[in-house]
Each structure stands twice: as C-alpha cells, then as structure tokens.
C-alpha cells in the first residue's frame, strides 16, 4: 500500500509506453518485436517489394540459385522464390490471424460456458476437449483435409479446431478463478447480472493474456500449415505459402537447397519473432501467466 502511495504523485504510464519500456529492458523481447514488425511490414508491402508475380511461371531458369535477378533463386517451374516467400508471408499471416481469431472466439465462448456454466456442462465440454486433444493432430488434420479439400480455408479450419480445446481450457480456468474473484463477488453483491459481469468484468480480463498466448501460437499455425503441405494438403496451388515452398523444394533438396532454405528461414524468423515478443509481453503484463493446459 505504501508502495502505491509513494508513486501516486507520478503520472501513470500508458499501456504502450509500458510495453515499450518493458521491451527495451529485454533483449530477446526487442529482437522479437523488431522481427515481428519486419515480418508484418514485408507481408503488407509484399507486392511493392518484389518485382515478380509470385504465381508467374518461367520468369527465369528452373531451380536457379540466388542471383541479382532472383534474390532467392527460382523454383522448379521457374517462379521467383523471393516474391513467393513474401507472398507466402502474407498467406501465413492471414492464416494465423484467421485461424487464431476463430479459435479464440470459439474457445472464448466454450471456455466461458464451461467455466461459468453448470457443472455437468463443464464436465461434458472438458471431456470433449480432452478427446479432441488426444487424437494425433495429424490424423485429425488428414480427416478434415480429405473432407473439405485442401485450401487456405481448410488449413484455417484445422488449426482453429485443434486450438479451440487449448484456448477453451485456459479460458475455463481463468473464468473459474474470476468467478470467485472478489471483484466479481462485489459486482454480484451490487446486483449486476450475468451479461454485465461477463462482458464488462470477466472478458476484458481474460482477453489480454489470451491475445499474448495467441501471438505465441502464430508459429504453431505456420508449422501446421507446413506439415499439411508436406503431406500435400496445404493451401490450394498456385497460392504461395511457406509450407508449399518447402514441400516443392524438398524434392530437389539434394542438388538445390535454395527453395528449402527460402521456405524454412521465414518460418524460423516468425517463430523467433512471435515467441520472443509473446514471452516479453507475458513478462510485462503477467509474469505468472504460463501456458498451462
């Protein structure tokens, strides 16, 4: 209390300046933040940066090594890898945003229902989450892909569905602890109804940590996409995605490692960026927030 009293006379920092200060004090956090900004910028400005249409075939020789015309070389049908990697970044970010967004919203609803709803519903949902989780992911992916047909949408669907149980579980735990939190009790004592408690008091408190967790799952999404692509079930060709680039290049890895390198380096960078940024944000906002099951 005294601590707080001692600081009241200073202006309180805004969230943004708190983030920036926190990042400044954290080396990996800074690295992550810079990487994420670069990746997002590259994805947004992809078409301005690259000179080639990522889908245009035979813009150069096949499987050419990096050169001044083709910064990362070309693929097996002579497409410019650099522009494909950039465009792939856009796809990756789209998939990540859409699937995590979907997983979050669905996880939020189910988690809140499980956490705040009646006991039997909680048990039922938990059972469902655990059952979903205990499939080998890839079997699930295979089934969905064969069902819906491979496309961007399918990848989004697979990632969304496999992540829902994870988010829902986290939200459930949070909701349960919030249900007994004193400020929720206080609101109830003042006569606040469930919708008000949910939307005004509970949601804002679970959303922040959840967004941080979600940002740390961006690499997971991309890895899932790459895995599906490896099994030939990624996005619809000729859409460039890093997984597709990897998968195409994988066949020629013996003599021409470029496509695989071009496909995997961005994945590594995204992972580094989002993981480090997420970890730093987590430390800044809540050091205790761990990705528990």
């Amino acid at each position: 209390m005294g601590q707080a009293q001692a600081t009241v006379s200073l202006p309180e920092p805004t969230v943004i300046s708190r983030i920036l200060r926190g990042l400044a004090g954290n080396r990996t956090g800074t690295i992550g933040f810079v990487l994420v900004v670069l990746i997002l910028a590259a994805a947004i400005f992809a078409s301005w940066i690259s000179q080639y249409d990522p889908a245009a075939i035979m813009t150069g020789p096949r499987m050419a090594p990096p050169s001044s015309e083709h910064w990362l070389g070309t693929d097996n049908i002579g497409r410019d890898l650099f522009s494909r990697v950039l465009a792939g970044g856009r796809v990756a970010m789209l998939v990540a945003a859409a699937s995590l967004g979907a997983a979050l919203s669905l996880g939020l609803v189910l988690g809140l229902v499980a956490g705040l709803g009646p006991r039997w519903l909680d048990n039922l949902l938990l059972l469902l989450f655990d059952a979903l989780r205990s499939f080998p992911t890839i079997v699930f992916g295979l089934a969905v892909v064969t069902l819906v047909g491979p496309s961007l949408f399918t990848v989004i669907l697979v990632v969304a569905i496999t992540s829902v149980p994870i988010y829902a579980r986290i939200i459930r735990t949070q909701a349960q602890s919030l249900r007994n939190a004193e400020f929720v009790m206080a609101e109830r004592a003042m006569g606040a109804g469930l919708p008000r408690i949910l939307f005004v008091h509970v949601l804002p408190n679970v959303l922040g940590p959840l967004l941080i967790l979600a940002s740390m799952d961006v690499p997971l999404v991309i890895a899932t996409e790459a895995g599906l692509s490896f099994l030939g079930m990624g996005v619809r060709p000729p859409t460039p995605s890093w997984g597709v680039i990897l998968n195409d290049g994988y066949n020629f890895i013996r003599n021409s490692p470029w496509p695989v390198i071009a496909g995997s380096v961005p994945i590594v960078l995204v992972t580094l960026g989002f993981t480090f940024m997420g970890e730093a944000l987590r430390d800044i906002f809540d050091p205790r927030l761990q990705k528990a099951n």
Binding site: G2, Q3, Q5, A6, T7, S9, R21, G22
Partner: protein
C-alpha cells in the same frame, strides 16, 4: 554526510554497526532511493525492533544485512560492519560463509518460505551441510530444535511436507531452522503478520524465550508497536527510508521525541485507552522516494514544522534522554551531528 558514532556509552557491545547506509532500487521510472543514511547499531545479545509503516524500508534494510536485496537494488553508500567484514561491500563468494552461520533470517510469510517439495527434515538437514557430523546426528539435532520450538511429536514431523503443517507450525519450523545454525544475528522480518492474533502471541513469546536461551542478537522487524514494545530491548523507528528515532524501547515508547513517532503511537488502537468515536490519524501522504525532498522527510505531515525543516535535512539529535532523534525540535538539547 559525515560519519559519526552512535555509541552512547550505554555499555552494550555492538555486534553489527550500520553506518550511513543508502540503497537505491533501479526501476523503469528512475531510481527509488529506498534507504537513505541509515545508521544503526545492533547490540550483542539484545533485540532491536525496527518499526514503521508499510513501505518505509524495513525489509530492504533487513535484506541488505544478509545480502539478499533484490537484483535491481544497489547499495550506493555506507558500510555494514560485522566483525572485520564490511557487508556492504562483501564479495558474493564471502556471503555464503556468513549466511546460515553468523546471520540467519526468518521471513514474513511462513506459507511460502519453506520449500514445498522437500520434507521439513530434509530442509533442516540441508542447512547443516557445514557440520561434519553424521546424518543421524543431524537428524537428532533437527528433532531437538523442533522440540525447542514446541512442535508436538517432532520426530514424526520431520517427515512431513510444509503443506501438511499449519501456518503457526511452519513459522516455528522456520524459527527452529534459523536457530539451528546458531547465528550471532537473527533477522526476523515481520514473522507474525501472516498469522492470527492469538498465534502471534505464541510466536513472540517463543522468540523471546529462545533469544534468551541462545543469547544471539535479534533484529525484529514489525509494524506492530505493541509487539515490538513487548519483545524488544531497543527500537528504531523508520519513516520513508530513514531512521527517524532510535533508542531503548522504554524510553521511546514512554516519551517519543520525533513527531512521527508520536503520531504513530497515538494512532495505535492498542494505546487508546478511553473510548472515542474519532480515531487519531496522520494527515498527508508519504513523500515520493524518487524525488526525496530536501529538508526533513516528515515536513509535509509534521504539525510542528518550521522553516529550517524545509531547508536542511536534520541529523541525529539527542534530548535530555538517551534516544537519538532526527528532529530540530530536539536539536536545542544537544546536537550530535551537523
């Protein structure tokens, strides 16, 4: 500030002497000057109480005496003498030789101070790692000390995990562990705040008995005046990172000289004898420890403030009695430092 001597010829042999100790905490919004110019003496075989309201720096002072300040803390000034060592500038390697041997500490929260995954016995034997005795002997010692702190059936308790004990028992285990190392100086940082009122009494009495038995010096940190009065021989009153008054318990609680001490005593509901509907308070709020005002630290809340208080930082003065007071109102009666 000049160094000075607080020994007032009261005949007590000092065990530890803190001189002009200042500690800063680095934070994102600039350094906090959490401790400033602390000068204190811990007499051998006596209990020194450290009182003051929340956030005044009691724990920071205690931790700096055992070298466990947070990683963002930095001793900017001063010395802490213990024997031939200066603890303020002790290399990291030397600390281990002191901790758990000459100095031991009891922490505020007994619920979290014990390792949850090791049994009481394991933890008590761990800390005897220096002794060249057999495991059985170590175990025996542990049982003895658990018995000392009046834990029923100590033999069986050795194999319990902390979560199987109640809060009071855990705090007694902590005390047993601290005493087991037979320290010269025992630091107890609010060892009873997490406990219930009736339990607190038990722990305080236990501490007093054991201190008398082992004869070590104790620094007892508390914000509870009644408890300090009951347990301690000497007391130092802290306010916003400074010691504002120090001396023997009898004197200070009988005739507090610093306006802050006076106000604090008035507020203590334990000391208000006659029923009243209006409780006394100290108006105003704490100063910001990032920008410490010049002059007296208590100036904003002091009913007796005068011009000099705002200008100059007062040194320690002693009135006609033996206690030392950082207040110009006592200055006329004999200044000790300039």
């Amino acid at each position: 500030m000049h160094s000075y001597n607080t020994t007032r010829g009261n005949g007590h042999v000092p065990l530890m002497r803190i001189e002009e100790l200042s500690v800063d905490f680095a934070t994102a919004r600039g350094p906090i000057h959490a401790l400033r110019h602390i000068s204190l003496e811990v007499a051998a075989g006596r209990i020194l109480g450290l009182v003051g309201e929340s956030g005044c720096g009691k724990s920071s002072l205690a931790y700096s005496l055992i070298g466990l300040l947070a990683s963002n803390a930095h001793i900017t000034h001063g010395v802490i003498r213990l024997g031939d060592d200066d603890l303020a500038h002790l290399p990291a390697g030397r600390w281990r030789a002191l901790r758990g041997k000459r100095i031991a500490m009891i922490f505020q929260d007994p619920m979290t101070s014990l390792n949850p995954v090791r049994t009481i016995g394991q933890q008590m034997m761990d800390i005897q790692y220096r002794e060249r005795i057999t495991r059985a002997e170590k175990r025996k010692l542990a049982v003895d000390f658990l018995a000392q702190v009046r834990i029923p059936d100590p033999e069986a308790r050795l194999d319990s995990y902390p979560h199987e004990l109640s809060g009071g028992m855990r705090q007694r285990v902590c005390i047993a562990m601290a005493l087991l190392t037979r320290p010269d100086l025992l630091i107890a940082d609010e060892p009873t705040t997490a406990l219930d009122a009736t339990l607190e009494v038990q722990i305080i009495h236990l501490l007093r008995d054991l201190q008398q038995q082992f004869g070590c010096s104790v620094i007892f940190v508390s914000h509870h005046l009644g408890t300090v009065a009951e347990l301690c021989d000497d007391v130092a009153v802290m306010y916003a990172g400074e010691v504002v008054e120090q001396g023997s318990v009898d004197e200070i609680f009988r005739q507090p000289a610093h306006p802050y001490t006076q106000a604090l005593l008035e507020c203590d509901p334990g000391s208000i004898r006659e029923a009243t509907r209006i409780l006394p308070t100290i108006p105003g709020s704490l100063p910001d420890l990032r920008q410490v005002p010049s002059g007296c630290i208590f100036q904003d809340r002091c009913p007796h403030v005068f011009e000099r208080c705002r200008r100059e930082h007062p040194g320690f003065y002693s009135g006609e009695r033996t206690q030392l007071v950082r207040c110009y109102r006592v200055a006329g009666e004999g200044e000790i430092t300039s």
